[in-house]
Amino acid sequence: MLAQVTPLETQTPAAAVIGRSAQGLYGVEMAGKMGVANEKLGFDAGQQTDWVQMMVLVRDHQDRSAFAALFNHFAPRIKGFLIKSGADAAMAEECAQDVLTTLWNKAGQFDPTRASVATWIFTIARNRRIDMLRRQRRPEPEELTWGPEPEPDQADVIALQQDSENLSAALAKLPDAQRDLIEKAYFGDLSQSEIARITGLPLGTIKSRIRLALDRLRHAMQ
C-alpha cells in the first residue's frame, strides 16, 4: 500500500471505491459535499483516500470508478480554485472537466516520486487556465524522456507524499500576511515584481526530495 494505512485498504482500492459509490457517497449529488462525506467517513487529515493508488488504477486499468472518485474529490476544488482566480462559474466548470479529462488521457505521465496527485492536477489546471483566460499556450519543460518509472520504489512515493503534507502544514503556520501574498500569487493576482517580495517559502525539504528523484531518474537512464 502506498500511503497511510486506512481501514478501507483491507479491500482493493477499486473495490473500496465501488463500495462507496454504491452507498451514494461518491455520487454526483454529493459533488461539492465531499468535505462532509469525508468527515463522516473519517477521511480527514491523516486518513486520506489513497489518490496515488487511484491514479495507478486509472493509468493501468482505465478504471472508471477510480476516475469518478478523483473527479468527485478534485473537480469541485478546481472549480473553487478557478473562481477564486477570477474565472466565471461556467468557465471554471468547463475548465475543471477539461482538467479531469486530461488526467485520464495523461495518467501515464504522473510521477508520484515527484508530485502529489493534487500538485499534478494543479499544474494541469494552471495551464488550462492560461489557455482559456489568455488564449495563449504555456510552454512546458521537456518531459524527462525516460520517466516516470512504471513501478517506482514505494518508499520514494511515500516520502514524497509525506513531504507534500508537511509542506501544507508549514504553509498553514506562516504569518497571515505572508500566506495571503502566496495565495494571491497562485490565484493569479500578483505581477512578477510583486512575486519577488515573497520570501521564506518552506520549500527546502520537498525541493531536495524532488532533486534526488530527478537524479535517480537520470541515473537509471544511463
Partner: protein, 211 residues
Amino acid sequence: MTIKHHPQEATLLAYATGNLPEAFNLIIAAHVSLCDDCRAVVESCDAVGGSLLENAADVAMCAESLERTMAALDTPQAPRPPRTPGILPAPLHPYVGGDLDAVKWRPVGMGVKQAILPTSSEASARLLRIPAGVAIPDHSHEGNELTLVLQGAFADEGDHFARGDLEVADGEVTHTPVAAPGADCICLAVTDAPLTFKGWLPRVVQRFVGI
C-alpha cells in the same frame, strides 16, 4: 553538463504560478528542460499550488457533470516515444516548427542572424545566431532581458556562459556579451522591453537600427 547561471528564484516562482508573459514562460521552460536544479525548484513551487488546490473551498459541479465527462472519455494517449535530443529544447519546437534546421534566420548585420518567435505581445522572444568573436547586438536595452545559451558560448565581464546557462540583465546594466571561439553561439533572448524595430519598417532601416 554543469550549468552555473540560473534565473532568479522569484522568476521560477512566477513561472510556476502562471504569472509570466508567454516569452518568459518559453525561456524558463527551455532552461528547466536543461537544468535539473531549476526543475526541482519549479516542481516544489508547483507543490505549493497543489497544497492550495487541495485546501481550496470547493464549489459544486453541475448535475450530470461527471456523467458527461465520463461519457466523453476516450482511450488514453499512448506515451510519446522518446525524442532524439537536438539543439533546441522541446518547448521551442512548436515556435520554430522543428529543431535548429527549421529556424528561419534573417541577417541583422555583422554576420549575426535572428529569428523572432511568435509569442504574445507583452514580451518578445528571438533566437540569435552569432559568429565567434562578434558581440551580441544591442544589450543596452530597457526592461528585463534573459538570454539562454543553446549552442556555443559567450563571455561577458569575465563570466562564461555555455549551453544551459541563463544570463539575467535589467535595464541598469550595460554589458557586451561576445560570442566565444568555436561554433556559432546560438541563444534564446527574451525581453519585456519593446523591440526597437517593428515588422513594417523597411529592411534597410532595420539593418541600421539593429535589433
